[in-house]
Symmetry: C2
Subunit: 343 residues, 2 copies
């Protein structure tokens, strides 16, 4: 459908990904036109199929790293906002695609910034709690500079995102782009990939299948998990808040978005067992390299500037996610059986 | 001249820069053929003019960020090494060219890595002590992860170099490139630009002109300065050392190169006054943002693996640099007078 709207057009790079697809939906609900750009490296058409007939939605399969012309010039389309959500974002995915992850974080972000600069559009960059690395401060406020190993096994992602922030800073300062950076902490919910190696899909899938839930390390490392609807709300507020509201954050508004409620990985596994009513066991395995021991957002800025706090409890979020995971597990079971001919 | 040699060919990206031009010279002295690639954004033809007639030297004006084909395929040319020294490298230059600095650090480095990977060449990346940021550990060993503000006023350089290191790590791990990373600390000597805003050229030029030497802050911040010939020796050793010698550093050899002798900026200014026999005064000005308070290399690895220690004292290095600075000051005085018609 042609992207036209009273409220303007948002180009969502990475719009077919987990977070991206929820943002596209949310923006359409708010009467924005949406151009979803994705190269489907880790994004999936199935995440946005249900949006394809909605007025104002347009999908373009394109690679952000090859061109700054994200969409063709069309005077009838007033691009008001650009959201850069494009990147492999789980350790399994960026470990498998290290070069692509570096490239989209650097080249992709600079292309998207060029585009926003040319269009005079507000630019929202999805950054990550990974820029804090293995933090020496807990919880992490936005002015904490982080503790990241530049050559570590996760550095293709962490450093690409730090670079993306530096690129935002350069375009804001030297080109006057209205940039907003969201440092996104762990998020979960429907449309996460089953095989992306993150704790919640891992636990959900294992619990549904009745297989052991694998914990890396002793399970005492803590994390905080934000339900996708809460995150989409925070991102939407950051994208659309008046520039003047952000001024008190200095020249570069960076805002943590995440759920500050901490849980140990072991306790999370037990909660998943309860929500899924599963009898699975819990198994411990060796911790991979440079895995942060703690990670918890300080969301003081989001609370003050965006009036945002996550409203969905973990138990509620896990419950809401359950139907998706059950259906995905059953779909993958069926497709495996069809492929192999096993019963 | 056609680049042919018994010992192989080294492609030096950024070869017309301060460090690059000294490396080209050193490599020719060691019987390597050299292809010097530079876009002359901050490099200068005059740095390599004296090399143009030397057998085995070839200069190509090209932009590392536009193509991974650094040099045309020529079966007679055996590219054995790639040195990536391309980047604006002083706060004045990267402040003036923030986008170009980000681009050469990210796109340029990935292009150079692609090229090295295709040629099966050893790859040396010039990184910087700036990856340590405002260090919380002094001196800085290579396994210190740094304290860098990702959106600070210097982040276009610091984060581009951290990204370059992460890119090296990714190409080493996923493509098997024989990568060596040099974290270069402050270096000085002939062919530095007078106007690059660094302490030594600033002080030298002011002292020679009889103008006040400006110190930012109270002058108690310390730095360490390595003479260019010492640095070129260290880089040459890191470039050519047998891969097996680097194995004890783990999968990614990173080596600090710098002179560990610390000096306060105030004491340095006084030394310059002595070496130049100048009567200039010393003036204090406000410190710019994110200026590190200390910076000193731990060179244990270079000493052990490369058998390298800097041999030129600061006083000796300043003396050796003096004729260059005197001649540049007089040249810029003449060219200003020619341009403005003043006496």
């Amino acid at each position: 459908m042609k992207a036209k709207s009273q409220r303007g057009t948002v180009v969502v790079a990475g719009g077919a990904g987990f977070i991206g697809s929820h943002m596209c939906e949310r923006l359409l609900d708010e009467s924005y036109a949406v151009v979803c750009v994705d190269n489907l490296l880790t994004g999936r058409r199935s995440n946005i199929d249900h949006l394809s007939n909605r007025p104002g939605f347009e999908y373009r399969q394109a690679d952000l790293t090859t061109s700054a012309d994200l969409i063709p010039d069309d005077p009838s389309m007033r691009v008001t906002h650009v959201m850069n959500l494009a990147s492999p974002a789980s350790p399994v995915h960026y470990g498998k695609h290290p070069i692509e992850t570096l490239k989209v974080g650097a080249v992709g972000t600079m292309n998207a910034l060029e585009f926003a600069s040319r269009k005079g559009a507000v630019f929202l960059q999805a950054s990550t709690s990974e820029v804090y690395g293995d933090p020496l401060v807990n919880p992490q406020p936005e002015d904490y500079w982080g503790n990241v190993n530049p050559i570590g096994p996760r550095s293709m992602y962490d450093e690409a995102k730090r670079f993306a922030e530096a690129a935002c800073a350069a375009y804001a300062r030297s080109r006057g782009v209205d940039v907003r950076i969201a440092r996104i902490f762990n998020t979960y919910g429907p449309r996460m990939q089953l095989t992306d190696g993150r704790a919640i899909p891992n636990f959900m899938v294992s619990a549904i299948r009745g297989e052991p839930l694998t914990i890396y390390g002793d399970g005492s490392q803590t994390r905080s998990f934000c339900y996708i609807d809460d995150l989409a709300e925070g991102l939407f507020r950051l994208l659309t808040v008046e520039h003047s509201m952000l001024r008190k954050l200095g020249e570069l508004p960076v805002i943590n978005l995440g759920n500050p409620e901490e849980v140990t990985i072991l306790a999370l596994a037990q909660e998943v067992l309860q929500v899924t009513a599963s009898n699975s066991e819990i198994a411990l395995k060796e911790l991979p390299g440079d895995d942060p021991k703690v990670r918890q957002p300080d969301i003081g800025r989001a609370r003050e500037i965006l009036k945002w706090v996550p409203g969905v409890s973990r138990r509620e979020g896990l419950r809401r996610s359950l139907p998706y995971f059950v259906s995905e597990v059953s779909r993958s079971w069926r497709s495996n059986n069809l492929q192999t001919g096993r019963r």
